[in-house]
């Protein structure tokens, strides 16, 4: 085990996969010589050369499409889209092309493509640099979507994504960029896509979150513990396909569900988790499920407003208290 920052774990995952498999290559704006806008590809251009770590023009649609083609032709491209908001420029290639080719070719044309992108929430970077669009991507059959809350997962899930035969969008959190954590040394340590994890066990309520919101749920759980409320924190890690088994198992243990997300509520991943509870998990629910999300508005930039916009520890605590105070 080594202690690495979130971004260093990403960097180390990329380096190991580039070393392991000559078909792996990186494409993105400033990923080469500059080492990435936020440092995630530092040193990789020097080690692997410009044919495997390529700086690209500002051309998200073409660069994603090029990666789709390269994947069809036998490479394992890893594309970096600098901010999550910019995946909108690559949507045709992701949604209409990459997501469907395996299906349309009856599996003869898998698209082993990885798209890494960083959600800027928490940086004060404003309405076109801080959105959570994971719900859009998770709604597309054929795409897989993962979002890590720890350095260890950031590395392990990225490696799993690169090895996966399907297109995987790997979302990273700017808010966690410098957070340190233990990361296994074993280059074969991966986390299976599609598996959630319990970060904290509890009996009274299930908190479901992913990415940077997990940390706030853990803090909220500590606050609640002091009041005698024992919250379980489930980190989804994969947003599509959803680990329905783990979510339902936790719900059966606690009978209460609070989903916490930085994205807006309508048509979101959180809404999907609640749909699961309202259908397959209905018998286990002892109180109405709660969705703690951003208000239905673009992300404001100044720190005061940004804090008010994204769900904070207090909002999570309040939602769990509400849930525990109710009995159906």
């Amino acid at each position: 085990m080594r202690k690495l920052k979130y971004w260093q774990a990403i960097n180390s995952g990329l380096a190991e996969e580039l070393r392991r498999d000559p078909a792996v290559m990186l494409l993105g704006e400033d990923v080469g010589r500059p080492g990435g806008a936020f440092g995630a590809t530092q040193g990789l251009h020097a080690e692997f050369g410009e044919h495997r770590v390529r700086d690209t023009p500002i051309s998200e649609a073409a660069l994603t499409g090029t990666a789709v083609g390269a994947a069809l032709a036998g490479l394992r491209p890893v594309v970096e889209i600098m901010f999550f908001d910019f995946v909108t420029l690559a949507m045709d290639q992701l949604v209409n092309q990459a997501a469907k080719m395996g299906y349309l070719s009856m599996g003869r044309f898998p698209v082993p493509l990885t798209v890494r992108t960083m959600c800027g929430a928490g940086l004060g970077s404003g309405p076109q640099h801080a959105q959570g669009l994971e719900g859009w991507l998770a709604a597309v059959p054929g795409l897989k979507v993962v979002w890590s809350s720890t350095p260890a997962d950031a590395k392990a899930l990225l490696k799993a994504a690169i090895r996966d035969p399907d297109p995987v969008v790997v979302i990273e959190s700017a808010a966690l960029w410098s957070v340190r954590g233990e990361v296994p040394d074993d280059p074969e340590a991966t986390v299976s896509i599609g598996r959630a994890v319990i970060r904290r066990s509890g009996r009274d309520a299930t908190l479901v979150a992913w990415g940077a919101a997990v940390t706030r749920c853990l803090t909220a759980a500590d606050i609640l513990a002091a009041e005698g409320i024992d919250a379980e924190v489930l980190d989804l890690r994969t947003l599509s396909p959803l680990d329905t088994e783990e979510v339902l198992a936790s719900l059966h243990r606690t009978g209460r569900l609070v989903v916490v997300q930085d994205a807006t509520g309508p048509c979101s991943v959180g809404a999907e988790v609640i749909r699961l509870a309202a259908t397959e998990g209905f018998a286990a629910l002892r109180a109405p499920a709660e969705l703690v999300s951003a208000p239905f508005a673009p992300v404001p930039f100044p720190p005061g407003l940004e804090r008010a916009y994204f769900p904070q520890d207090d909002d999570v605590v309040a939602a769990v208290r509400r849930s525990v105070g109710k009995e159906m």
């Binding site: 704006e29 010589r33 004060g124 404003g126 076109q128 930039f301 100044p302 407003l305 008010a308 916009y309």
Partner: protein, 331 residues
């Protein structure tokens, strides 16, 4: 929200040189103040400054009226100032204060002023380019001789939408002026790493859009080319493309370590300071000196005012996600 302040924009002087110098000086002092405020921790968010590129904004916008449209980029303070945006409201926005141009919600990259035809700065590279084409479409439909200007960087030229916009504007002969502000870098990447053809005018020529390269540090040269192109557009002769070679003195964003370029290169370009280039051509040295002092005072007062403004009410974040019935935009 009342937008009160004691800083009306100066009336344009008769003298072209004086006018261009004043605009550039206002931009320079604004950007310098913003840089200091960010460094001292007073401004939140990201800042992309245009110090060194002032002549492009001043020269192009001198050829426009309040009735014309423009769109700009993440590096758009200069274009907004040159188009007449209020410095106090811009600063309030940078501070994230309620009277700011976007209610203090958006910061540096989304300034817009419908009254002045500023259809918006943009945090998405190249997104403003087709929006300016839309301004041109409205202008052509209305037939009052308005024009629309799209400011964008050399990096944006790699985005497909720029080429689609050129084709559309040419096809429909729209009154659009494409202004490529070539500061030779897209973030940390020099232009030769992202454009195969470094002759940026060629991309316009391919769509039969007349194009010209000018010294983007020479405000008079920029103005004279822009004026010709704007006249063409007003006369119904369609779009033009102005390629301005210039250089940004500061990093891509404030705080950028700038490992990707040599200090000597920056120094060489500082030697071609657009303000000094113009100053040397002005007959009376005391005029620019007085303008600088005036701008410094103006900005200092505006900073003081903006800093004292209230933050937006967090409860207001959902206001204006949708507009009330009957709401309308500019004309």
């Amino acid at each position: 929200m009342t937008r009160t302040s004691s800083h009306p924009r100066p009336a344009p002087a008769d003298d072209l040189g004086v006018d261009l110098y004043r605009t550039m000086a206002r931009i320079r002092h604004f950007e310098t103040a913003a840089s200091r405020l960010l460094a001292s921790g007073e401004l939140p968010g990201f800042l992309h400054l245009s110090i060194g590129q002032e002549a492009v904004a001043a020269g192009v916008c001198r050829a426009l009226t309040d009735d014309d449209y423009l769109t700009t980029t993440h590096r758009g303070h200069g274009h907004c100032i040159a188009k007449g945006a209020r410095i106090d409201l811009m600063l309030a926005e940078l501070f994230g204060r309620a009277p700011g141009y976007c209610g203090g919600r958006s910061g540096s990259m989304h300034l817009a002023d419908p009254g002045l035809g500023i259809l918006g700065a943009n945090a998405i590279v190249a997104a403003g380019v087709p929006i300016a084409v839309g301004g041109g479409l409205a202008a052509a439909t209305r037939g009052r001789g308005q024009v629309a200007v799209a400011f964008f960087g050399d990096g944006a030229v790699a985005e497909g939408v720029v080429h689609e916009s050129l084709n559309l504007a040419a096809l429909w002969r729209l009154p659009v002026l494409f202004v490529c502000e070539d500061n030779q870098y897209a973030e940390m990447t020099p232009t030769e790493t992202h454009l195969n053809n470094r002759d940026i005018t060629a991309y316009a020529s391919a769509h039969q859009v007349p194009a010209e390269t000018v010294d983007g540090n020479d405000a008079l040269a920029v103005f004279s080319a822009a004026e010709r192109m704007v006249r063409r557009a007003r006369d119904g002769d369609g779009p033009s493309f102005l390629h301005c070679r210039t250089y940004r003195w500061h990093g891509h964003f404030e705080g950028d370590a700038q490992n990707y370029r040599e200090a000597a290169e920056v120094e060489a370009w500082r030697g071609r300071d657009p303000l000094r280039v113009l100053r040397l051509r002005m007959a009376d040295e005391s005029v620019p000196t007085a303008i600088d002092a005036e701008c410094e005072r103006e900005i200092a007062l505006a900073v003081e005012w903006a800093r004292a403004q209230p933050s937006p009410d967090p409860g207001s974040v959902t206001a204006h996600v949708y507009q009330p019935d009957g709401a309308s935009c500019g004309s």
